[in-house]
């Protein structure tokens, strides 16, 4: 599995070169990579699914932190990996046609491949932190993909929104995972899953659960974080298809399923997970009312579908888990197909507005067929897989502890709306009267219909012959629940109450379809409610944050060096002084020691220099006098046997004087001198700073040194690090990582100075202002 991940990263790096060599049609070539993974996975399927085995790989990565490159392929991972690689291959082929002629098509192939690898990493990881790294990688790659059309304001805003929401949740998730690994005593998921009881009985359990759920809910667009997903349709359509069907949003659902053995089966889990899932299920369904854009309609039903999966995982009994797993598969197949169909329709006609589309079946017959098949599955009609999933969903509702009128009522309402949306998306554009479209519909190439046709065809075939999927569903459900179980699926299982519910849903759906125009009129109410919705709260929060940042930058970073120095000194004096005074008992003065004559001379010289400096009127004289203080310090270092410090200080002092001279050389003469009151205040600040340092030195020298660290360094310097100069051994060995960071900062500072002096700032400012104006205009247009 490490091979899969690594080959993905390496391949992604090669894509720009391959793309330049093979041109826009190279999508077929790039699809070979996920296809080969698919073949490999399918080859392992009998072993994993048939015999309930797992494949594990572990490579030591950061042994001192207990982090391993641990991969594990079990039934659940298999289900997801098959979806990711299979749909991934089709999406890449589709992208070859859809983005044909797009200037950034090569970039698309790179990003989508990376996105795919990241998602595979999530489902194959067996270590919490490894999983987290891939999780964040999916956030970053999806950010780049959603903002793919980065010239458009809407795309950039949507990309930011998706990143801020999911990466914000990611932070909570990281905290939750760290706590979880602490409580469970291991970072390996397979180990943690064995000791679920330890975690559930820990007092930290509610905290762990809450943090992890925030991560999963933001990723899976659960209420109230659902708003980023419909906006993410700013992405190119193949990306949306992938994002909604097999990746990104499914990651949250995957995490819930993966951690079910540890976290589930408590009242808190059931309440939070199925409660939020149920709310999301209703939110997605209701918000779809009134939408006219194909992709937006599909996006809201995805929110509803994710709610359904979360709801089922919250119930977490055997039946519900089976239903959830089946739903993941069915939804992945039909939603992927329908998004690709929407893209094909958009490409053919130039619009995605359902009111303007009709009678496309004669122009794009293969797309119409794919849409019809996928639509059947989405509407939950027999004999498609979606029907089986819906039946199982109803069945587990009947057995849950939830009050039936509530759960069934919500499910039937959502199912009926789903039915209407399916008809609108998959049926209406292709049949009936032709409408006005921006340009006359044209037929589309094979890339456009191959993917949707395969996906929707699969949904139908496995619906008719459910035996084909039973091992997959069974394997996945088993690895969620960690005990063996049997899955039975059949299109016809007698006259049961569940069948009645299905019929009721279809009937209501048919009715809704007949009167959809008035329903859609009613959907306008959402626009009126928008000012109190979570999306608006997000906007308000973001604007507030920006204002605050602008304000504090204006106040703190005002560009006056004297102000910075004053702020730093005052803050230090106040904070440190407060601590010193509040723990007065520490205060105590060590012995003065014996003061030697030359010490007095050096210090007297330094004090004299300090007194003279403020009275000088020439910059050069000021610098030279400040040099006196610096060299005096060198002498003090020497007297107190710190030759290393003295040498560094000496070199620094010399260079600083030269630096100042070079800088001052360009400055005009002093013209405006600060008035006396300001000088007096400056004097007070300076005295406060000096007094604080004096007090600190006295306190520190009065206390016995904490011996451990310096002793350790002194004792082990020669034996462990082969050096007798302890100072340098600390710098390059014991604390080498710090030094590495410091020289990097140093290099950055140098580059900063270079940029400040060399780049003509004036030109840059003009450039940015022009850009902002453009954005404003575009923003207004988007609104």
């Amino acid at each position: 599995m490490l091979v899969i991940i690594l080959s993905g990263f390496i391949f992604a790096a090669l894509i720009p070169w391959l793309y330049r060599r093979f041109g826009p049609r190279s999508g077929w070539l790039f699809a070979l990579l996920p296809l080969s993974w698919l073949v490999y996975l399918a080859g392992q399927a009998p072993f994993i699914l048939g015999q309930g085995q797992v494949i594990e790989e572990r490579i030591s990565w950061m042994p001192s932190l207990g982090v391993e490159l641990a991969f594990r392929l079990d039934g659940l991972g298999m289900l997801f990996a098959l979806l990711i690689t299979g749909i991934g291959a089709l999406v890449i082929i589709y992208g070859g046609g859809y983005l044909d002629g797009h200037p950034y098509q090569g970039r698309f192939f790179v990003l989508i491949t990376l996105f795919m690898v990241a998602m595979l990493g999530v489902v194959l990881s067996d270590h919490l932190f490894l999983l987290f790294i891939f999780w964040e990688l999916t956030s970053i790659t999806s950010f780049l993909l959603i903002g793919f059309e980065h010239q458009r304001y809407g795309a950039r805003a949507a990309a930011w929104q998706a990143l801020l929401v999911t990466a914000g949740g990611g932070l909570a998730l990281l905290a939750g995972l760290v706590l979880l690994s602490q409580v469970a005593g291991s970072g390996l998921i397979s180990v943690i899953n064995q000791n679920g009881a330890v975690v559930r009985n820990s007092p930290l359990y509610p905290m762990v659960l809450l943090l992890i759920l925030i991560g999963a809910f933001t990723k899976s667009a659960q209420f109230p974080f659902h708003f980023w997903l419909p906006n993410a349709m700013a992405a190119p359509t193949p990306v949306s298809a992938y994002l909604h069907s097999a990746t990104m949003v499914k990651a949250g659902v995957f995490l819930l399923a993966r951690l079910t053995p540890v976290l589930a089966e408590t009242p808190l889990w059931q309440m939070l997970v199925s409660g939020v899932g149920f709310l999301t299920l209703l939110t997605g369904a209701l918000l779809a009312l009134g939408q006219r854009d194909l992709k937006r309609l599909l996006a809201y039903t995805t929110v509803g579908a994710l709610g359904t999966m979360t709801f089922l995982l919250g119930l977490s009994d055997a039946l519900a888990v089976k239903a959830a797993v089946l739903y993941i598969l069915a939804h992945g197949l039909y939603k992927g197909a329908l998004f690709l169909v929407a893209g094909a329709v958009d490409h053919s006609t130039g619009t995605r507005d359902i009111e303007r589309l009709g009678n496309l079946a004669s122009t794009v017959p293969q797309v119409a067929l794919a849409a019809l098949l996928a639509g059947i599955s989405m509407a939950g009609l027999p004999p498609a897989l979606g029907f089986l999933a819906k039946e199982l969903f109803f069945e587990s509702l009947m057995e849950s502890t939830w009050p039936l009128y509530l759960s069934l009522g919500g499910a039937i309402l959502a199912g009926a709306i789903n039915f209407v949306v399916a008809a609108l998306v998959a049926f209406k554009p292709f049949w009936g009267r032709a409408q006005d479209v921006p340009h006359p519909p044209h037929p589309v190439s094979v890339e456009f219909w191959l993917g949707p046709l395969i996906l929707s065809g699969l949904g139908l075939v496995v619906g008719v012959i459910p035996a084909l999927t039973i091992p997959l569903i069974q394997g996945a459900a088993q690895s969620v629940l960690q005990f063996p179980l049997k899955v039975k699926l059949a299109l016809w299982h007698g006259m049961t109450p569940v069948l009645g519910l299905s019929l009721l849903t279809m009937g209501l759906g048919g009715l809704g379809w007949a009167i959809y125009r008035s329903l859609w009129q009613g959907g306008r109410i959402w626009q009126k409610l928008a000012p109190v919705g979570p999306a608006h709260l997000y906007e308000v929060g973001l604007t507030g944050l920006r204002r605050f940042a602008a304000w504090q930058t204006r106040v703190l970073q005002n560009g006056y060096l004297r102000f910075y120095v004053m702020t730093i000194v005052l803050t230090t004096v106040l904070l440190t002084g407060f601590t010193l005074l509040s723990r007065l008992s520490w205060l105590g003065v060590g012995g003065w020691g014996s003061i030697r004559f030359y010490e007095v001379v050096v210090v007297a010289l330094m004090i004299m220099a300090a007194v003279v400096i403020p009275r000088l009127r020439s910059r050069l004289a000021t610098i030279a006098t400040m040099g006196m203080i610096g060299y005096g310090l060198v002498l003090i270092y020497l007297i107190y046997s710190a030759p290393d410090l003295a040498m560094v200080q000496f070199a620094i002092e010399t260079l600083t004087v030269i630096l100042f001279v070079l800088a001052v050389y360009r400055l005009p003469k002093f013209t405006l001198l600060t008035p006396s009151p300001t000088r007096f205040l400056d004097l007070l600040v300076a005295i406060a700073g000096g007094m604080l340092m004096t007090a600190l030195v006295l306190v520190v020298t009065a206390r016995p040194m904490v011996p451990h660290i310096s002793d350790y360094f002194a004792q082990n310097s020669l034996t462990l690090a082969n050096g007798r100069n302890v100072v340098n051994v600390i710098l390059v060995d014991f604390r080498g990582l710090d030094t590495l960071g410091e020289i990097t900062v140093l290099a950055l500072a140098g580059i900063g100075v270079y940029a400040l002096v060399r780049l003509t700032l004036g030109r840059l400012m003009v450039h940015f202002e022009g850009l902002e104006e453009e954005e404003e205009v575009e923003h207004e247009r988007a609104l």
């Binding site: 340098n728 710098l731 020289i743 140093l746 100075v753």
Partner: protein, 137 residues
Amino acid sequence: MRGRSEILATAARYLMPLLIVFSIFLLLRGHNEIGGGFVGGLVASVAIVLYMLAEGVQAARDLLKIEPRLLIAIGLLVALSSAMLAWMVNQPFMTGLWWKHPLPVVGKVGTPLVFDLGVYLTVMGTTLMILFTLAED
């Protein structure tokens, strides 16, 4: 800069190589005696800057032959690769590796010394970049 001083130029011509040699001496002995990459880099910068003050920025650039910002890049790269060498022998990042046989003059050689060389180059590059930039035009 204003007029050229013959005295300074002559002094710089003799002092500059001495300072460079001294900076390398500091770098090499840093692990056991007073010295190290940081101060070595500073002393090397002082040497070049002395020459710059005497002969002008362009002359100092010609003498250095390499762009200071390249020095920074090389320095960081050297430091980073010395830290990554440990991976080759299956040790965690930055584990110090030592060559068993001491070289003449230099003494024992190991990755910390290479790391120190990286520090030396980065410090030298940064200092010179800032000073050259300010001294020009």
